[in-house]
């Protein structure tokens, strides 16, 4: 029982390491801050996100408007703050939907008979064959634009990946010695699935979900940019990017600040997700 290089005793003596390296801590703090902004934008923004003042249009960042104003004289900072909720909730909600659907499909595929498994997995293969953006666009063409439809579209597009992961994990966990031990104890099958199979399956799924929540946020901003998401005059980062695009030459701040917000959140999510993955894969590093 020796791990390569380090004797077991040394590992035991070193004990479990709970110290979190600084990067994930910083990223986590950033995410927490954005979550608060999304929940309570009025704590941060003095101005209204939608009140236009054409006399104060296209003002560069300054003491009155820290992020400047847009072509209608609306405060960009207020719009970024108020845009956090629609921008983030669509991405997070879509990920949740994807995990839910994927887990359902994956576990049914793993537990249902061989025929059901074959049929479902071929369907999943078809889903995986399309790029997520294309799949989401197809769904949106059918459903029509709107924030909820964007959420559903991204969720549906992400589901096949989760279904694959859940299925393969369930198949591994189901054959594990601890599930065998539970059968020997006489624990009914549904309880074994609930207590042992699903919890041990969802660990890696939650890690993948964290990492791909970033992708979902980018995707939702992208679809909003294309006009499928919230409609003007709503404040949403993707929409703001799209509106600011026309003024990029004269007023860079209209597009750059919402863009920076998307980038910051996605990088932070990825850092946290990678750290979770490294912890799950084992080893203190």
């Amino acid at each position: 029982m020796t791990t390569l290089g380090v004797p077991e005793a040394a590992l035991r003596a070193a004990g479990p390491r709970w110290r979190v390296p600084p990067a994930p801590v910083l990223a986590g703090t950033v995410l927490l801050l954005f979550a608060v902004v999304a929940a309570r934008p009025e704590w941060f923004a003095v101005h209204s996100p939608t009140a236009s003042d054409l006399g104060a249009a296209l003002r560069p960042p300054g003491p009155e408007h820290p992020f400047g104003t847009d072509q209608l004289g609306r405060d960009v900072f207020a719009r970024v703050a108020h845009g956090a909720w629609p921008s983030l909730s669509i991405g997070v909600g879509a990920t949740a939907l994807g995990v839910l659907l994927g887990t359902a499909v994956g576990s049914v595929s793993a537990f249902g008979g061989r025929l059901l498994d074959r049929v479902m997995m071929r369907a999943v293969d078809v889903g995986l064959a399309f790029p997520e953006l294309l799949l989401a666009l197809i769904v949106l063409t059918v459903l029509g634009p709107g924030p909820v439809n964007v959420l559903v579209a991204i969720g549906l597009a992400a589901a096949p990946g989760y279904a694959r992961l859940v299925r393969s994990r369930v198949l591994v966990v189901r054959e594990s010695a601890y599930v065998q031990a539970a059968v020997v104890m006489g624990i009914p099958r549904p309880l074994i699935v609930l207590r042992h199979v699903l919890p041990n399956t969802l660990g890696p799924v939650s890690v993948l979900a964290t990492i791909s929540a970033g992708t979902a946020i980018v995707l939702s901003a992208g679809l909003s940019f294309l006009g499928f998401g919230p409609q003007p005059p709503a404040a949403e980062w993707g929409l703001m990017l799209s509106e600011g695009r026309d003024h990029l030459q004269r007023a860079w701040w209209i597009a750059v600040f919402p863009g920076a917000a998307v980038t910051t959140v996605v990088v932070a999510v990825t850092v946290v997700g990678r750290w979770l993955k490294a912890r799950l894969d084992g080893g203190p590093q």
Binding site: P7, A177, P199
Partner: protein
């Protein structure tokens, strides 16, 4: 140090080797002041429990201590050069050609994407020993030399296509390809069954005649006793005793050596304690008491297999008969051993007996009532009667569960509804297997191999079973820990009147623990009888092979006439 022979013969010498893992306050001082000498054509064995620093020593001597380790030595010479001054580049040049390393797990050590032949040829290529066109022939010759049958075909195969024993031999062939003067073998046979272990040991021992210096690392004194010229016993990072093999076995001076010797089950150990560190609450039985287990003949069969056959068929593969027409009867309170090499069908038999696999023909009955062929729903209420102890205890626990929750779940499944009573019983179960209440909060990952197996046994005892099926419960453990678990099973059997179906590849362990034995080969029972009779006069040639392969201490060694537990000096 007893220096005999000229300095030319000295392949490897190290004085005051110190190895530390980590830095600062987290540092672990794994090896302290170890000094060793290895001569041409000599086999030096380093023996000790896991955590004693033997593996760290072996790796450091091959220049592979790893980035987390700090290695220092007063003097360190390898093949006449000052190894203390070696850079990584020097090590690369000397590794393979000067010093070879064979690790325990050949499956992990071989690249799964390369053929065995490519693996063996690598040292020839890296050290530019042979031109490309002559390598293939040399690979075949090396595999042949390492005892790999049909070496030409094997060279084209991938590691997963080979059995454990063949993989280990391929690994040895690759370690020997560049003709090193020193071979370091770290637990080279621990993952193998006794018959294959015997073959690999013979192979290693035979290499010495060509002048190879062999450094053999093992936890098992009986394994090294066959081929080692000298033995060094390590404990807690130090060498506590070193000397010629015969002297160490005959007159062990250090308590640790005596404990290691006592841990080997042998012809004279039946009914005796093997470990000196049994839990305090159990006084050791007198030999007479333990030698008279509950007699099996009176009881009715609690578990019986009648003509059981199991065939595994996969699309595209020929069907394999894992268990062929096996009948056996386990009486109440009896200990029945099932012995065989890996692949002989013993583990499949365990699954059939547990009702975890349906037999293709034949029946299994439990307490006189049908057991196989029932729907799981009908079997569930009777599952408490027969419990399982698996080979890998760690894998048998849900990785998220601490010990307390593992036991709580078992007790709840056994029908104990009251939470506080479950808690009390969990503590009592731990006490029964020699652990204390403090272990309830620990995670299995934080426990040692022996402690994990104790927890697995405690869980199996939770529903108060009548039968315990043990599938290789000690083969993944150190010899000394194995001794403790065997003693524990012996005691539990006596105290609780448990019937044991004990599955093992080691006839020595079975002989120590069981009343009767069933020998399996190729899925079928080839011999059956009282363990004493089978041990003394095996009827089937296959049993003889198993018997010959059991690692045993030479007769006349200290263990041969070891004192009973009452007289065992208070070691540790």
């Amino acid at each position: 140090m007893t220096d005999t022979g000229t300095d030319d013969d000295l392949l490897l010498s190290v004085d005051g080797l110190d190895i530390t893992f980590g830095r600062g306050r987290r540092a672990v001082h794994a090896v302290r002041g170890v000094s060793l000498r290895l001569r041409r054509g000599e086999c030096l064995a380093i023996v000790g429990e896991s955590g004693s620093g033997k593996s760290a020593t072996a790796r450091a001597l091959a220049g592979l201590a790893g980035p987390a380790a700090t290695v220092a030595a007063r003097a360190w010479r390898l093949l006449g050069r000052n190894a203390a001054r070696f850079t990584e580049r020097d090590w690369r040049a000397v590794r393979g050609r000067g010093i070879g390393l064979v690790l325990q797990d050949a499956l992990v050590s071989l690249d799964p994407l390369r053929t065995v032949g490519a693996e063996v040829a690598e040292p020839l290529r890296v050290h530019r020993i042979l031109p490309r066109d002559r390598r293939a022939a040399e690979v075949v010759r090396l595999l042949d030399e390492a005892g790999v049958p049909e070496p030409g075909e094997r060279a084209a195969q991938h590691p997963h296509e080979l059995s454990g024993g063949l993989r280990q031999r391929a690994l040895i062939a690759s370690a020997l390809a560049a003709r090193p003067a020193v071979l370091v073998a770290d637990e080279p046979t621990t993952a193998l069954d006794v018959v294959v272990q015997d073959q690999v040991l013979r192979l290693l021992g035979g290499l010495r005649s060509d002048g190879l210096g062999l450094l053999l690392i093992s936890h098992d004194l009986a394994v090294v006793a066959r081929i080692a010229d000298r033995i060094a016993v390590m404990h807690d990072g130090r060498i506590v005793e070193e000397g010629p093999t015969a002297r160490i076995l005959d007159r062990p001076a250090h308590p640790r050596t005596r404990a290691l010797l006592a841990a080997v089950p042998g012809p004279t150990t039946r009914g005796r304690r093997l470990s000196d560190r049994a839990p305090a609450r159990t006084a050791g039985p007198t030999p007479a008491e333990a030698a008279a287990p509950p007699h099996p003949d009176g009881g009715a069969a609690v578990l019986a297999c009648e003509g059981v056959t199991k065939v595994f068929a996969r699309a595209g593969h020929p069907a394999r008969t894992a268990v062929r027409d096996v009948s056996l009867r386990l009486a109440a309170g009896e200990a029945l051993g099932v012995v065989g090499e890996s692949g002989s069908g013993k583990s499949t038999l365990a699954l059939l007996a547990m009702g975890l696999l349906p037999p293709d023909s034949g029946t299994v009955t439990l307490e006189g009532r049908p057991w196989s062929g029932l729907p799981e729903r009908a079997r569930r209420p009777r599952r408490s009667a027969v419990q399982l102890v698996q080979q890998d205890p760690l894998g048998s626990f849900d990785p998220r569960y601490p010990v307390g929750r593992v036991l709580d779940e078992a007790l709840r499944a056994a029908g104990e509804r009251d939470r506080s009573r479950r808690r009390a019983r969990a503590a009592a179960l731990l006490a029964q297997v020699g652990l204390d209440e403090g272990h309830l909060r620990r995670r299995p990952l934080e426990l040692s191999g022996g402690q994990r197996q104790r927890v697995a046994i405690a869980r199996a005892l939770a529903p108060r079973p009548r039968v315990l099926v043990c599938d290789e419960p000690v083969s993944a453990l150190d010899a000394s820990v194995q001794a403790q678990i065997i003693d524990l099973l012996t005691r539990l059997r006596r105290e609780l009147g448990l019937a044991l179906l004990f599955i093992s590849h080691d006839l020595g362990v079975v002989h120590h623990l069981c009343d009767r034995v069933v020998v399996m080969h190729g899925g079928a029972v080839v011999e059956e009888g009282p363990v004493e009779r089978v041990w003394r006069a095996p009827a089937h040639p296959h049993t003889e092979r198993l018997l010959a392969a059991v690692p045993a201490l030479p007769p006349g060694s200290a263990a041969g006439e070891r004192p009973g537990p009452a007289r065992l000096p208070g070691a540790t």
